[in-house]
Amino acid sequence: MTDAAESSPDLNFTRVPEVGCAPIGSAAEIRLAQLWESAPGWRGWLSTVDHKEIGLRYLVTAFIFLLMGGIEALIMRVQLASPNQTLLTPEQYSQLFTMHGVTMIFLYSLPILSGFSNYLWPLMLGSRDMAFPRLNALSYWIFLFAGIFLYSSFPLGEAPNAGWFNYVPFSGLEYNTGPNIDVYALGMVLLGISTTVGAINFVVTLFRMRAPGMSIERVPILVWGTLTASVANIFAIPSVSLAFFLLWLDRQVGTHFFDVVNGGKPLLWQHLFWMFGHPWVYAVVLPAMGIVSDALPTFCRRPLVGYSAVALSTMATMLLGFGVWIHHMFATGLPTLALSFFGAASMVISIPSAVAVFAWIATIWLGRPVFNTPFLFFAGFVLLFVIGGLSGVMTAAVPLDFQLNETYFIVAHLHYVLLGINVFPVIGGIYYWFPKFFGRMMNETLGKWSFWVMFIGFNLGFFPMHVAGLLGMPRRIYTYAPNMGWSTVNMVTSVGSFVFAAGILIFLVNIVVSLKRGVLAAPNPWDAPTLEWATPSPPPAYNFAVIPFIASRHPLWEDRLDEGAGRSSLERGYLLMEGRETIGTTPLDAIPDIILKMPEDSYTPFFVGLFSALAFTGLLLHWGGFTVLMALACSLSLIVWMWPRTALVQRAPYIKQDTGAVHG
């Protein structure tokens, strides 16, 4: 395959891209498959840059982290099921709730959405890959290594133990002398690199990689959601990476940023953490809301009501989301003026959220709903979103927050938001796109069972937490006395959590059964409107045999909707097959702008990821020389990566060659 690309280097600096058809089995299609497929075996596995492969890896890895975080939660629920339990020591409990939070917030909730977006974006946008395929691979490898890094001290009983938001001075050296917090600090900086490069890849992909004619008002809402989240991450991640890095300096070098005795300020940590943390909350829900906005209409047999309003409210939510971080700090003694402002801003944010909710309800109302599994998950999500949103508005009120701060009410709220707006759409999304991923349908009966067990278990588990909070139960306590009046609600919560886990188990069984025995799926089994369903299930390595021309928001529903004048052209389009190629278009109108040369598979992302993870390991273990060596190896790998290549037309040819192009 490499030979095919190298033997016909296209040394034209401009050309008119050929338009044509390439049905399955044609010479052109076979050539495309040769160009884009990864090598078999471990070589292809380590070097692939195929966004579909990387997307699936993201999904599987993040889901494994979800299961790990879930098991941690179940152990805690056994401990809390009744008063004065001794299953866990206080220190073990601290490590468990910290790792549960770290895992769910950082290693599951965004990576799983990156998995969907990595897999789906190029398919939805009519492209052959992401803007930076190798960067995409790097993003995955670093995510994987950072996850392993964060868990590395867990078996030694030295896991992070100061809660996922890791407040100083408790996480400072004075109160936390072990390696626990250093693992967390360095792991988060490493993970931040992965998230940042992933976010950059999404942003550039959106602006450059859409099929001709897919102007900005025609992209699916999932794309809006992930775009918004990615832009936010680009601005917000440096804040948390810096906070953790400064903390590490304080602990290991002896600086004084958070050191109260020497003029440092613990509140600085809270500001830096939540200036990142609140936008992050939206980063882990907006793409999931996008999943619903795209998939729910398929099951309502009509387009989403208020596309523009939902797209704009997505952006508005994030914009406001940068101005509400103080609501995590109402009880820290900040001036009343600041509290009032941030309380008001936090309430305003419910307006764009409500716009989306009403759009989904209207879509169901005005449509003809088909009550199958994905629909149930999406409809269930709307209900949970409303409950989680309401408790959010309640805690946005400063006086009420004073009362509820640090109680189980907050725990209930954040789980309604994160499970309701992330886990339910994610599971629904897996049911929805499973046929695209694997070419087989998931089992409906098991699907409905998994939904109802999860839905009942979830509400049984988390709704009583509101009550526990109102009864004054503080969060993060490892046990409680029998006379506190919290015994019943805690028992109900523990039972609910196991019911919920049973629902997840049914879902996993369904995955295994469907992978083996599921009904074979047609390209568009749900009769959905968006472009990913125009490809075979599962899609070939090159995605689209020809780059389509797009004329509307719903390319596959054009005949019945009659939107606009033109018709999309899916069978006939740009062939682009002189090496790995795709089209680059202008940011807003998607007018063809450039023929982009896409990179071959490469080992460099794996090595850059590996060496940077090892460099961080060196920092953790105070191996100075090793760290420097690994940083050098990382830099060398990057230079190899960036070396300008004739095959990618990154440099001028110094040997004049025959410019006659080879066509398949």
């Binding site: 034209n12 600096f13 050309r15 008119v16 891209p17 338009v19 803007a131 930076f132 960067l135 940042t196 976010a199 950059i200 942003v203 550039v204 450059r208 001709p212 004619g213 102007s215 680009i234 601005f235 917000a236 991640i237 440096p238 804040s239 810096l242 400064l246 300096l249 070098v253 002896g254 600086t255 004084h256 940023f257 050191d259 020497n262 003029g263 440092g264 300020k265 600085l268 500001h271 830096l272 021309f549 004329a551 033109g566 018709r567 089209i583 063809p592 702008d593 450039i594 023929i595 982009l596 040369k597 830099s635 230079i639 960036m642 300008p644 990618l648 037309v649 990154q650 440099r651 001028a652």
Partner: protein, 199 residues
């Protein structure tokens, strides 16, 4: 819309200047790195506004050497810009010379900055101001060093004849990063050296 697309228009192939992916990628990188410096300076102003210590502890900083050093860094940026223009005008030798000069000026900045560090009476661990001063200038120094490696590699690639007036995206992408490193220094300089004069 499908009809409106002109199908017979010749399009550039591969990494063509500001239409290349790398140009967009480095713009996004600059946004996120710019945010990082924004948070660093926020940290400085937050702690400075809350401190009860004498600020800066050694009194107002001298502006002479840091001022000269700032000019050196900005001049370096000008030569990177000139180097890029020379490639566009097919004056490869001038481009090489200009890039080499930019690199040397960057090295001068590093040397002077190390000297500035060495004459400080405090270090990272002495006091809060020292932690801030060395962390912020240290972060910037790290970016300068990365930028210098980038310039050196661009010099090598240009010398190897990889670029001409049609394909030199790497030069404008690497050059943009260097301009960013220089511009962000102005903010660091204004914060650490000029702002103490205001209060």
């Amino acid at each position: 819309m499908a009809e409106a697309i002109q199908l017979d228009k010749p399009l550039p192939v591969g990494s063509e200047g500001k239409r290349s992916g790398g140009w967009w990628g480095v713009l996004a990188l600059i946004v996120t790195e710019g945010s990082l410096f924004g948070y660093l300076l926020f940290t400085y102003f937050y702690l400075a506004s809350q401190t009860e210590q004498h600020w800066p502890p050694e009194g107002l900083p001298s502006l002479v050497m840091p001022g000269v050093n700032t000019l050196i860094l900005l001049t370096s940026s000008v030569f990177v810009w000139a180097s890029e223009r020379c490639i566009r005008r097919r004056q490869l030798h001038w481009s090489l010379a200009s890039m080499a000069l930019a690199f040397i000026l960057g090295v001068c900045f590093v040397v002077i900055q190390f000297h500035e560090w060495s004459i400080k009476t405090y270090d990272m661990t002495s006091n809060l101001y020292g932690s801030l001063y060395f962390t912020i200038t240290g972060f910037h120094m790290l970016h300068v060093l990365v930028g210098l490696i980038v310039l050196l590699i661009l010099l090598l690639w240009t010398a190897l004849g990889y670029f001409d007036d049609r394909r030199y995206a790497a030069v404008i992408i690497g050059g943009l990063y260097w301009h960013f490193v220089d511009v962000v220094w102005l903010f660091v300089f204004a914060t650490l050296y000029l702002s103490p004069y205001l209060y």
